[in-house]
């Protein structure tokens, strides 16, 4: 694997995380719990879609085979997507969506803060732009975790259930493979192993404040680094890719 190939795979993985998460969050648009929160979550989805767009364009350029960012987004199949399992998990109730988002926001803030120091100038620039957006996302979703956790008995039960359901997908966020190893040596990639204890400490503080407990015995899920996904990704792609695949020559 050349450095160029590794950079493509790395950028594609980051793109896919943002793209699939943005698609998931967009499912809430017009169905939010109330108007203001509907707009807030849609804003967050749009920020993340913007990140996906920048990353996909860079991925397309890095690949250098003439594929456009749209082709990467809409004409790849399930086993060619490298997003983590966490981002493709169903929205569930609002507590589950918020908890998933809070776990990811905390990760992304640490991740992009490090990526902003990358030797790759484009990745560093995309990261630097994203940090401000994610800082707000963390604030918004953390306050909602707090509200659910310390709200009513029902809201507490719902967010605790969400944590029990989603925690098993969190180890995978920090998995590193040969792509990471190669780019880490070049000071391009982020050392995920080093982020893990910091992330865990921050998330645990948020959860503790919200009076939530980590599930005790969890079998950590894995697979996305090899493009192996849960059953949910196929349905996301079906909806997301339907239009461009039906009308591949359509233009805006």
């Amino acid at each position: 694997m050349t450095k160029q190939e590794a950079l493509f795979k790395y950028t594609l993985r980051l793109s896919d995380n943002s793209l699939i998460l943005a698609q998931r969050l967009s499912e809430w648009t017009s169905k939010g719990p109330f108007l203001e929160e509907d707009l807030a979550l849609t804003n967050i989805a749009l920020d993340i879609l913007g990140q996906a767009n920048s990353l996909l364009e860079y991925a397309a350029k890095t690949e250098g085979k003439g594929r456009t960012s749209d082709e990467l987004a809409f004409f790849r199949n399930e086993r060619e997507f490298y997003n983590t399992l966490l981002v493709e998990q169903p929205n569930g109730d609002y507590a589950q969506t918020i908890l998933r988002q809070c776990l990811i926001d905390n990760f992304d803030l640490l991740f992009y803060t490090e990526l902003a120091k990358s030797k790759d100038e484009t990745l560093a620039a995309i990261a630097a732009k994203s940090i401000k957006e994610i800082t707000y996302h963390v604030r918004h979703t953390s306050s909602w975790v707090d509200r659910f956790g310390n709200g009513t008995e029902e809201s507490h039960t719902r967010i605790q259930n969400a944590l029990n359901e989603l925690w098993r997908f969190t180890d995978e966020l920090f998995e590193m493979n040969d792509v990471d190893a190669l780019l880490l040596k070049e000071n391009v990639a982020v050392d995920l192993a080093a982020l893990k204890p910091i992330w865990k400490k921050q998330v645990e503080a948020t959860l503790e404040k919200a009076n939530l407990k980590l599930p005790e015995t969890v079998f950590m899920q894995t697979g996305s680094r090899n493009a192996k996904h849960t059953e949910h990704l196929g349905y996301i792609l079906a909806e997301m890719q339907y239009l461009p695949r039906m009308h591949p020559t359509a233009k805006w």
């Binding site: 109330f34 108007l35 203001e36 929160e37 707009l39 807030a40 707000y136 604030r139 918004h140 509200r147």
Partner: protein
């Protein structure tokens, strides 16, 4: 049905530092923190401002339409309260 969206807040946006905060609308929120976040999401998405105030709508004291006559009409026939009876000297620019 009972409204479960929380109390109403009024939103004021300042375009640039030094300029006045201008009322731009209202929103629902359960507390101060949610109110300021919602205001940011609802009213500054298109770079409308650089600072925000949110005020509980209940804290605003408003004049009522019935008072309009006694409050505002007496000033209608008092044109001498407007500074329009002076000759402005030539050379004064900012008036």
């Amino acid at each position: 049905m009972k409204d479960s969206q929380g109390p109403l807040w009024e939103v004021f946006v300042q375009k640039k530092a030094g300029q006045p905060f201008v009322h731009c609308g209202s929103l629902h929120a359960y507390d101060k923190e949610m109110a300021i976040e919602n205001a940011r999401d609802l009213y500054t998405r298109r770079s409308e401002g650089s600072a925000l105030w949110v005020v509980p709508a209940a804290a605003i004291v408003a004049s009522s339409p019935e008072d309009a006559g006694s409050f505002f009409e007496p000033s209608n026939d008092k044109v001498y309260r407007h500074p329009t009876f002076y000759q402005i000297p030539e050379g004064v620019k900012y008036i």
